[in-house]
């Protein structure tokens, strides 16, 4: 049994067209041309690409890894061809603006395509992913000259991009960074310093790579207020747009990692490399955060993708592997033993994986709708509300989806038993690949601190309001349901939501006096928000499913399965909320009791 993946198109169409129909952030006439027929055709094409082109390189890319020889980085066999197909098919330009050659796809569709790419080949996704992140920062902050010189080739995927933030001594705390930029007198700068952990920092997929580098100008203020952002190409473009001479960016090495081995993670040495300022001097962090926030949602989607392939691979094995008889009596007398999918504990694992991925997909789609509405909403009030929701949910999507992805990938290995530990089956790769998503673009602990420290209390709780209002509104709306299961699930959600409301008040109050109280509650609070958010989506999904089944539908299997997954979520997953609530309630005391030198 090997890695198994087919894009879950039916569930994707469900979250895209049905789950949030006519809700939340209103219609977006901006995307009028993207009719359901068109978006479904795009999803179908993406499903083919990811299955036929990217998936076959996932295990082989992991086994071979990237290599470096004489400072030149090579991706594993097949990656160059796959990237060429990807680029030539227009996939790199999918969500970029049409004025720069992009296709202007809404995020609601784009994030589903991202999920497919990440599922089929997480390492591969990093190459276009970083380019897209760099493009976003250039779009938002660079001069028109820089945009004209770089965007067309980056949007098309001819050139790649990177984000160069981390140095050996500073990751989370960018205030410590040392890379410096000296004016060269002609409007350009000489950038010098060492960066580590640079995803796609060098490779053989594109003819040029455009680095976005954080550095300090001479006499810049200390700390985060003295950081500027520079665009530093690997090869300096000629005036006609072709690639010119090398620009003093050397690859000092590639990292040997636990996973994500087909993604080239580089140490880069900038030695008086020529670069141009992006945005205002000393405002580099703000520019970088535009990109970073977008990336954080994408990292959440990475987790979701890995979770989905882990789930599908586990289902396939659980159907095929014969071992012992069902506890309820022999299920398959024609076989020497029953397929392990009959065993309740295997079901528990499969259903957990399923609930996590479906729940994440639904919640992710809600956030994608807000991303589109933030950019193209009908009025300023809608755009603000969407933006508030995105601000609150960005750390949740990043940390929740990736924590659940690691759990899901590990459950997948568990279903394979000892065979899961053997490399040839390909499922231990999912554990190793998923692991990075909890770490990069801000560790999940940093996400939780962002949520409680920057989002929870800001503007009198304004960021939280769209989420809280949506859950309240559904609870009120569903109160009149007569279906017993829906009523029970609604009541479970109401209880968890009550715990979330209480926790929010407690943290806001305690943190006013003692910031460590917020830090002590952060991770459990994020999980509580995530559970309530997924519960909200499952209740909504279940109500739609019940309605469709009541009307009569020729897709009864799909809606019945949705009800089953929702039921499992409320019975078996949502109880985690109580544990999170009790942890939060206990406060910082026992957590900080042991002095640092007593560990």
């Amino acid at each position: 049994m090997a890695q198994v993946y087919e894009a879950p198109l039916r569930d994707m169409r469900f979250v895209l067209h049905e789950l949030f129909e006519g809700e939340d952030f209103g219609d977006l006439p901006h995307f009028g041309e993207f009719t359901p027929d068109l978006t479904d055709a795009i999803l179908d094409e993406a499903a083919r690409l990811t299955r036929d082109v990217l998936l076959p390189l996932n295990a082989s890319g992991d086994a071979e890894g990237c290599t470096i020889e004489n400072g030149v980085v090579r991706t594993p066999a097949g990656f160059r061809d796959a990237y060429a197909q990807f680029r030539d098919g227009g996939w790199a330009a999918l969500s970029s603006p049409p004025e720069w050659g992009g296709q202007g796809l809404p995020e609601t569709v784009n994030k589903l395509v991202e999920e497919m790419i990440c599922a089929a080949n997480l390492s591969f996704s990093l190459y276009p992913g970083l380019t897209h992140g760099a493009t976003t920062a250039i779009l938002g902050h660079a001069s028109e000259d820089l945009k004209r010189a770089y965007l067309p080739k980056m949007v098309s995927g001819e050139w790649g991009g990177t984000m160069c933030l981390t140095e050996a001594h500073c990751g989370t705390d960018l205030g410590l960074l040392r890379t410096r930029a000296e004016p060269r007198g002609d409007g350009s700068f000489a950038v010098t310093g060492s960066k580590i952990f640079i995803s796609s920092g060098d490779h053989d997929l594109t003819e040029n790579i455009i680095h976005l580098v954080l550095a300090r100008l001479p006499d810049a203020p200390r700390g985060v207020k003295g950081i500027s952002l520079f665009l530093v190409p690997k090869l300096l473009p000629n005036d006609d747009g072709t690639c010119g001479p090398r620009n003093g960016v050397a690859v000092a090495g590639i990292e040997h990692k636990m996973g994500l081995k087909a993604s080239a993670t580089c140490q880069l040495a900038f030695e008086e490399s020529i670069g141009w300022l992006v945005g205002e001097p000393n405002k580099g962090l703000a520019a970088m955060f535009t990109m970073m926030n977008a990336e954080r949602v994408s990292v959440g989607i990475q987790g979701l993708g890995v979770g989905e392939i882990a789930y599908q691979s586990a289902v396939a094995y659980a159907r095929e592997r014969l071992q012992s008889r069902a506890l309820s009596g022999t299920a398959r007398p024609d076989l020497p033993a029953d397929p392990i999918i009959v065993h309740p504990d295997v079901r528990r694992m499969l259903m957990t994986m399923r609930a996590y991925t479906e729940g994440s997909r639904a919640l992710g789609q809600w956030v994608s709708r807000a991303l589109d509405a933030e950019a193209h909403g009908a009025d300023p009030e809608t755009r603000q509300r969407a933006s508030d929701f995105v601000a609150m949910m960005t750390p949740v999507v990043k940390a929740l989806f990736t924590d659940l992805a690691s759990e899901t990938a590990n459950l997948g290995v568990q279903i394979y038993g000892g065979h899961g530990f053997i490399r040839e089956h390909g499922v231990e790769q999912f554990v190793r690949d998923a692991r990075i998503t909890q770490l990069y673009e801000g560790t999940n602990g940093v996400q939780a601190l962002d949520l409680v420290g920057r989002k929870l209390g800001a503007h009198m709780g304004r960021y939280l309001r769209p989420f809280f209002h949506a859950v309240s509104a559904q609870l009120a709306d569903a109160a009149k349901t007569s279906a017993r299961d829906l009523a029970a699930w609604r009541s479970s959600l109401e209880q968890s939501f009550g715990m979330l409301q209480l926790s929010t008040g407690t943290i806001a109050q305690k943190a006013l006096k003692d910031a460590e109280e917020a830090g002590a509650a952060a991770t459990d609070y994020l999980r509580l928000v995530g559970l309530v958010g997924m519960g909200h989506c499952f209740l909504k999904a279940a109500r739609i499913a019940r309605h469709r089944l009541g009307e009569g539908t020729d897709e009864a299997d799909f809606y019945t399965a949705k009800l089953a997954t929702a039921g499992f979520f409320f019975d078996r997953i949502l109880p985690q909320a109580t544990a999170a609530f009790l942890s939060i309630k206990s406060g910082k005391r026992s957590l900080m009791a042991l002095p640092a030198d007593a560990f």
Copy 2:
């Protein structure tokens, strides 16, 4: 920063000498010679050996792995020397009976030494570990002739041992196995078949390897009732005990694994290999289970060991890595940033790791006391009670400790941030190594089924009684405490214990009508038992600590830290019990609702 490990001797002496003083299974005069002075000296020596000899080979062994060339398996550089020191120092013979050259150490001490070995080098531990397992089965079931021919060299560590159960199509379900044994007419048998996943199946550490192989006799009944156990040496011994000719056992390959890379996991092909029956014909599974049950406790200890080195490595990094300022205000103005150990979310992770390892060590020691009492208790009633307790706790120790170990190893990586994903820091190895402990010797799901299916309801709940009585007795005894924190923790334990009692009743009742109900509850029930068990140990430890501090002690730091860890456990870990309880309560309905073909 690299892998950091020093045996936690103070906590080991605490669980060994203080935690269960004068309790449970009474004094064991059999071990009278092992005075505290002697056992402490043994622990000190083991600490030196593991730190100086085994730890330095842990990362290098992982990087190099085992190799096979022309059918010959080689361990990584340094392993031969380390094994020679280990063997010559008498460590291989530690817990074996003196009549066969062993040192007869009680399990209470032996399991602490095992923990050290597994912490310093999990892969290494498999070589003596499997030999010891094979020795146990031979001791328990083989003829005197076989014992005389094999035990002395196996006990001393001159020869190695293996357990050959698994075949490609059968792991959990040994009833399916196909390896066969034909009588050769001289009392020996010709064994033919293919085995996979054989730990220490071949290597260069010992001159001979003694395989214990499950196989079928001609005309054996089908299924598990037709399996016999055979002793099959790699080299046939001559009459004088030296190694003679090869015995048709070929290494078909070694597995490429996620971790545990310095442990040689072999595919073995037996081709008319000469072997001898161990125990009765067709009773091989019973003989193998003697060994398997002992191994399961040891696998739990493996998890504990990996958890401890992950914890220590994370503490060292959290003290050294400077990043951002404390939320409560700058802690170290002399440094460019504060060490990350000041951050509450880092504390949360470190305290979780600490609570898991200390809790597991205490619970493991309780079980070790029962192992000793089972063998050497003063009277049959004590031995039976100890044996019942071991029967119940074996699956709990195996599954709980290893699940917590993987969680702990992952938290360790999380504390390292992106650096945790890079191989040179050595902490992602702990995640990869720990992963196998949840899978082998019966997956953790199989352990949970053993607990609810074979132990919970058997003999009117007799297996559970020693555990339930001990917790009840402490709750009664601690009811009179006037210390506020102890009273609060006692009350938390009482609540969780109530949930455990309720769950036990519910499962016992439901399972009578429907075995799938037991399967659906199994994993959560095992976790609930484990949480209550650790809570029982933490309350006991806290009461002792409070008492010692009240008396006055020059080790106030140790006892104060114990109280802090206990407080954290009750505030932050024990709330998981509620989630497990609610999951169990929901029963099998939502878990089995989705038909197998709808996944």
